[in-house]
């Protein structure tokens, strides 16, 4: 294969991986604070619908990005009110959020079916984008792509190098102790859930503004679930999350290339590959860590009710 093809494949992989990465990195922060949010799919589809509508209303794709973020955050706050203030079960509340999100997105998007969208422009970074290979690969993208990579670095830094990150992790690992030493567990979780909602909304916006600039019902097609899975796969580590999203994207795209190149394997098996690959890598990663502690935040999925 020539470098051109490899470059082209890499760019396709990046587009396919970016929404997964955006949603996953947000969910990672939420889970680090001890909340399992199964509403990502719902927040993503709401983000997609709002993003498209926003771009149409404001006449600018950046307007769409803003709408997507706000919509994702809005739905995540509904989720937050229930799981944090009313201490409802996170699994069930998350599923309810997804159900609600799919319905709301359908209603919001009703008037936009069959309209071509406004595509988010590429913003080449001066100088860097002129570099051979690296330039087109990394520095000729849209803002959401840059944001997704920046988020990985920022989240990684904040979680493991700052006091705020320590607090978030402390809340996720033992909310009772965290509460006891004076952290406001509920407020911190509100913030992380809102952050996760913004990220999921942006991931949805990426779908309707970059990936395929249009609105159609069901366009998230289960990507929110993949994002949730990627967080577990990544053992709650941002860099592994990046690797996971790109691994998934790579297998996804390569199976189409395998087909186009005429590899005689039933397409269903090729379609199943990304899922199987994710599982196998997870098992390998988990097996290596068996001797150590599990990486999961200890309070993940548990309701927190402060005593007194």
């Amino acid at each position: 294969m020539s470098t051109d093809i490899v470059l082209a494949i890499a760019l396709t992989v990046m587009t396919a991986s970016t929404p997964l990465l955006l949603a996953a990195i947000g969910e990672l922060v939420v889970e680090r604070s001890g909340v399992l949010n199964l509403g990502v799919e719902g927040m993503m589809i709401v983000g997609a619908a709002a993003g498209f509508a926003g771009a149409q209303l404001t006449g600018s794709a950046y307007g769409g990005v803003a709408f997507a973020a706000v919509a994702g955050a809005g739905l995540s706050l509904v989720f937050a009110v229930f799981v944090l203030l009313l201490a409802t079960n996170q699994y069930a509340t998350g599923l309810a959020t997804t159900l609600l999100g799919i319905g709301i997105a359908g209603l919001v998007g009703q008037g936009y079916v069959g309209q071509p969208g406004i595509k988010l422009e590429q913003v080449p970074i001066p100088l860097l984008s002129d570099l051979p290979v690296i330039g087109p690969l990394l520095f000729q993208h849209d803002v959401l792509f840059y944001l997704s990579l920046a988020l990985v670095v920022c989240v990684s830094f904040v979680l493991f190098r700052t006091r705020l990150g320590l607090t978030i992790r402390a809340v996720g690992d033992n909310h009772d102790s965290a509460h006891a030493i004076g952290y406001n567990v509920v407020a911190i979780r509100f913030a992380t859930i809102a952050f996760g909602g913004i990220c999921a909304g942006l991931a949805g916006g990426y779908l309707s503004l970059v990936y395929t600039p249009q609105w159609v019902e069901g366009m998230s097609a289960g990507r929110g679930w993949i994002a949730v899975a990627l967080v577990v796969f990544a053992a709650w580590r941002p860099l592994r999350c990046l690797a996971g999203a790109y691994l998934f994207g790579t297998v996804l795209i390569l199976q189409f290339h395998a087909q186009a190149a005429g590899v005689p394997i039933p397409s269903q098996f090729l379609s199943a590959l990304p899922y199987l690959a994710t599982m196998i890598v997870l098992v390998i990663v988990s097996a290596n860590r068996l001797s150590r502690h599990s990486a999961a935040p200890a309070c993940l999925g548990q309701a927190f009710v402060p005593s007194k």
Partner: protein, 371 residues
Amino acid sequence: MVLKRSSVAVFTRRAWCGGALALAALMPLSAGAHAQALDKVKACFVYVGPVGDFGWSYQHDEGRKAVEAALGDKVETAFLESVKEGADAERAIERFARSGCNIIFTTSFGYMDPTNKVAAKYPKVKFEHATGYKRLHPNVSTYDSRFYEGRYVLGQIAALVSKTGVAGYIASFPIPEVVQGINSFILGAQSINPDFKLKVVWVNTWFDPGKEADAAKSLIDQGVDLLTQHTDSTAPMQVAAERGLKAFGQASNMIKFGPKTQLTSIIDDWAPYYVERVKAVLAGTWKQQATWNGMDSGHVVMAPFTNMPDDVKKKAEATTAAIKSKTFHPFTGPITKQDGTVWLKAGEVATDKDLSSMNFYVKGVDDTLPK
């Protein structure tokens, strides 16, 4: 208490057109004979996807709206969207049958058995099932469109426009309808350029814009310079537009998504059929039939030929006219199968029976048919 699920012999089907009428004649004509003209008819539609998919279900709903527009207050329509195939379908259809619908259109292949089951219970209601082949009761008709006719024209345009001589085909599921389309496309292309090649990618979905876009990009990266699709979203058209290639639309006119990209599109136009059948119920003349119509009856419509040189346009128009007037059939021999055996001898035309169960490629397709 135990109901026997009688293993009813399936009528050997798709003795299309002439054969179907003969079959209808043999059936007890109770439904037709006792039918009376009605003052008002209620027409009901079951869709497999959301009406907002801008593809399959959307086109059927456009047909429903056309019925309302054509018949005004003589008709009342209702629809159920996103009805999953499986146990839900039978309930949805039966609900319509109970709620006073005179005619029910069930618009997905997977509704075939449920449609026939409900039809047995409601002999006075007319049932119309799209893309299936079972008509177990006199009140069940089937209908479908010859999309492959349009795909032959696409193939010819592709061969005339393509520089690399390789086109990419985004396919949904390996059912006969899709296989017909792929074969028809390559036959059309080979009629211009005998060495024309086709790369096929199966996405295993009718509708997932992201996945379709990925498949489109992969095909382009593999060196195709033209895209055609048998999936429902406009994503491949958008990808082609972005990469500056040409593409063919599907199901609806996608020109808005690629003003400089779309060469033409095969449009599913269900409106003429729906209006005709609802009118038949109004007049009391509805009869069982198996309809498989194509360009001649306006069920398959080519969107305007755009973004191509005039001579290509002329060729496409001539072929369309020939197919429309039935002077030409896309599956006319000599045709060799992919494995090298002869399928049709020179001058021989494929039977509808062969077409409707097609599960092999003709020569020139660069793919192995999923079995």
